[in-house]
Symmetry: C2
């Protein structure tokens, strides 16, 4: 009985969320901003990957980060101390972001047209200064989701690109065990590739398992720490940014 | 609005679950069986730890494993191929076990007195042969929960001992970010200690962070692969088994 009730409520919440996600995505498309939803287990290297990506991307992009956490602000503090703009969202124990929480993050970054999501005076997510001409303040925003390989996969947060990170020490069997995430991802990044000296990881078998679930997924293996393999991922992201809607011609 | 509804249903489900958990715990106490709830992220080394623990425990204990997964049976197959009894539960996408799912696993292992949880003929979880004298067939059962450092922490599955695994590559800051899990754990195991050659991990700082949340937690750092640090954990577990209710005097 309990389970049935859960599913009913869940479906209604997911329908509400789909509408919010579509609304946010339309605002971001129009603003020419690519939102990247960064998902993966705790410790899979999400923050490190985001920092290394922004640092090496080039091309004069204006990038910012929305960090989500149950409670703490350690990741946003780390991003800010590296010199980039960041907003911290607290999910208050919820195990994933949803589209309306994410829209609050974009509003706090100075994006306009998000309706009720725009932060009121005294909001805990005080807005960063908006661009003087009211243009979208950033053309690339990484949204670091809560560290969770399950619950985050099913919730559309209005992003353009869904990234699933799996760190090499987690093992090459994980697509068998967490299929929803590997189906939801546009891009699968195998992080901490430099750990291959202490742990075996059959990359070919892993790729076969991902492609079985999701033939269209792009897969890159890299180490954000050593830089190995970063260029292929950066090349992919640069192409997505080139193709984005609303970019100045 | 969506959020309020979630919380109401959630409280009712958690109350139902607390009653089921208390019922299962009473049955297991009476049977002299210690149930260990093994929680941690995907790839934190749960299956490897369980196998190494059973193999090295000694003392003639009758151990078995209940494996939970969204969908696959890879872990139960691995346990069985190592020569131990295992039951696989599929949560059907749910991100954690609850007490009634866990009770189904114990019924399939041949435990009696679990009421509605006893598997009917044709159940997908066919019972293993029960001990001929109807005594509890096992005195130690590891329940490997779904790989998730968030959602599993809040749900009582009727276990005697709650184990939180954090693998060394996940990083020493995780108690700050996933406090609910580190509060819920009786024992915190830092696994993959042999990865310290490729990644820094401040064990002292980690212990300080865990103790701040949970002063009573026992903490062990080990590598199930090399055996380093296993003896301290095994000594702790042997003491719990010695003290268990219902053991033959």
């Amino acid at each position: 009985m309990g389970k049935t009730r859960t599913i009913e409520v869940r479906e209604s919440i997911l329908a509400d969320n789909a509408a919010s996600a579509a609304g946010l995505r339309a605002v971001l498309e129009k603003a020419g901003c690519v939102a990247v939803n960064v998902m993966g287990s705790p410790g899979s290297g999400k923050t490190t990957l985001i920092l290394a990506t922004i640092a090496r991307l080039g091309g004069g992009h204006r990038a910012a980060v929305i960090e989500a956490d149950l409670d703490s602000s350690v990741d946003a503090d780390l991003i800010r101390s590296a010199g980039y703009d960041a907003v911290q969202l607290h999910t208050g124990g919820f195990c994933h972001l949803d589209a309306s929480m994410t829209a609050e993050g974009f509003a706090a970054l100075g994006f306009r047209g998000l309706g009720a999501a725009e932060p009121a005076d005294g909001s805990p997510h005080a807005p960063l200064p908006a661009a003087p001409d009211s243009a979208a303040p950033y053309d690339l925003v990484f949204v670091e989701n809560v560290g969770n390989l399950i619950c985050t996969a099913e919730v559309d947060i209005g992003s353009r690109l869904n990234l699933a990170l799996l760190s090499l020490p987690e093992g090459d069997d994980k697509p068998l065990k967490y299929p929803v995430m590997f189906r939801a991802a546009d891009v699968v990044l195998v992080t901490k590739r430099d750990f291959s000296s202490v742990q075996e990881f059959d990359l070919e078998e892993f790729e076969r398992r991902v492609k079985f679930l999701n033939p269209g997924a792009s897969i890159f293996a890299l180490s954000a720490r050593t830089g190995e393999g970063m260029e292929a991922w950066l090349g992919f992201l640069r192409e997505v940014l080139e193709r984005r809607a609303g970019r100045p011609s």
